[in-house]
């Protein structure tokens, strides 16, 4: 690949994904400034690895690098955010509507959801961001997060359940006040 060509090709592939890359990074590191640094670092890494990119799903390719860069950054700067391991249990995937408070969910507003989402452990948060915001398939998420599809499914289910619980408990507190 010629060098000038390489830069142009990289830009043609990676720049349209800039919004997705920033959104994922911002949700993972949860800080504007840190997200900017991480995205820049991720793009430089991606450019260095671009020779190894053999076409195909460019979103999965780039977002894998963005995610890895986020994890490296968190490891170096905020490692305790990564020290709460979660157990992937398939039997916990149910989604129950038995709680009468669930009806509150219909009055969800963006600010509330944003806060609840930010509180989720990173393992659930990242899957939800990729699925709900970036509209990635289970297969793509499993590639990016380097997880079996079954784990992606269970984390997605548990993440939704936890998110719902967070929202419900907040709203009940608010209504009590």
């Amino acid at each position: 690949m010629q060098e000038e060509n390489k830069t142009a090709q990289f830009e043609a592939i990676a720049l349209p994904l800039f919004g997705a890359a920033y959104n994922l990074a911002r949700w993972l590191v949860r800080d504007d400034h840190d997200a900017e640094d991480v995205v820049q670092e991720a793009y430089l890494r991606a450019f260095r690895f671009f020779g190894g990119y053999r076409g195909g799903d460019s979103r999965s390719w780039l977002l894998t690098i963005v995610r890895n860069t986020c994890y490296t950054w968190l490891q170096q700067n905020r490692s305790r955010e990564l020290t709460e391991p979660i157990e992937d249990k398939l039997d916990e995937v149910g989604f129950s509507a038995e709680n009468p408070e669930t009806r509150l969910l219909q009055t969800l507003d963006a600010q509330r959801v944003r806060q609840a989402l930010a509180e989720l452990p990173i393992e659930f948060r990242e899957i939800l961001i990729m699925r709900e915001m970036e509209d990635l398939s289970y297969k793509q998420i499993s590639t990016i997060a380097d997880l079996p599809i079954g784990t992606v499914m269970s984390r997605l289910a548990r993440g939704r359940k936890r998110l719902r619980e967070l929202l419900v408990s907040r709203m009940s507190k608010e209504s009590l006040n």
């Binding site: 830069t7 430089l44 669930t102 969910l105 969800l108 959801v113 989402l117 709900e132 929202l167």
Partner: protein, 273 residues
């Protein structure tokens, strides 16, 4: 389908990840089971709440440009070169500049060595002029095989008098003379013919003091011989083979040498050597 199974499959159903058969089964179950239908409705509202565009973080406008130029700095092509050099520390700048100076020197030296010499440029001009004289049917200004006609024709047209010699007896007949312009000055062109081959002999006062013997060159398939003699610089050019051209040059030189020998002889006799 039982509720437990429905709970497991409700997420992939919502996410469009289920095959057609399973999707139809879930849909059938949701029509029958109020609890599961309620759960599904909630799940959908949660899904649409999280996928709300308002929850996305948009990159600051400047970031895209910053990342772009950072990437270009990484790339070794020209667009990034200036930015990168600005980032180099002085520690690196000094050896880098010394190296650059060396490179510049080496390149200039190579350019000097590789530059065509004056005589190469001259040879090129001579070949062009020779080709042009044959191409444009402008071989001669004064068509004559008589050296006593050709030589005086140059008087008043040039600031020198070119020696003209007819070598018809040796098979090189004089065709005529022509004014030409080579090496930024007007020169005499003497045209000879040997069989079907034309020979142009360009004559002008030489710049160097000493006489030089014939130097043969080949340019674009033409043979050239350059020599100087008695303050005159000669270029003979022709498509004639080199041996015959050398023979022709020899004849011209011999003639000159013979004249000079005779002259010396007569001078010597006069001074009583």
């Amino acid at each position: 389908m039982i509720c437990q199974e429905a709970h497991r499959l409700i997420h992939p159903y919502l996410d469009g990840e289920l095959d057609l058969v399973r999707s139809l089964e879930i849909e059938a179950h949701l029509k029958e089971c109020q609890t599961c239908a309620q759960a599904y409705t909630e799940l959908r509202s949660l899904h649409s709440a999280v996928s709300d565009a308002a929850l996305r973080f948009e990159p600051p406008a400047a970031l895209r440009n910053r990342v772009r130029s950072a990437v270009r700095d990484e790339s070794p092509d020209e667009s990034g070169a200036t930015n990168r050099s600005a980032r180099l520390s002085w520690r690196w700048m000094i050896p880098a500049m010394s190296f650059a100076v060396l490179v510049i020197l080496a390149v200039s030296l190579l350019a000097l060595l590789g530059r065509p010499s004056t005589s190469d440029l001259m040879a090129q001009e001579i070949v062009s002029s020779h080709v042009r004289s044959l191409m444009e049917k402008h071989l001669t200004d004064v068509p004559s095989s008589d050296q006593h006609t050709v030589r005086p024709w140059f008087d008043g047209r040039l600031d020198f008098s070119p020696p003209v010699k007819d070598l018809a007896s040796a098979g090189f007949s004089l065709v005529g003379g022509r004014l030409d312009y080579i090496g930024n000055r007007p020169v005499a062109a003497l045209v000879y013919q040997h069989r079907q081959h034309y020979i142009n002999v360009f004559v002008c006062p030489s710049t160097g003091a000493s006489d030089t013997s014939g130097r043969a060159l080949v340019r674009q398939g033409y043979n050239l011989i350059n020599w100087s003699d008695s303050g005159m610089n000669y270029w003979a050019v022709s498509d004639l083979n080199l041996a015959e051209l050398q023979q022709f040059v020899q004849l011209l030189q011999n003639d000159r040498a013979a004249v000079r020998a005779k002259l010396l002889e007569s001078v010597g006799r006069r001074v009583g050597i």
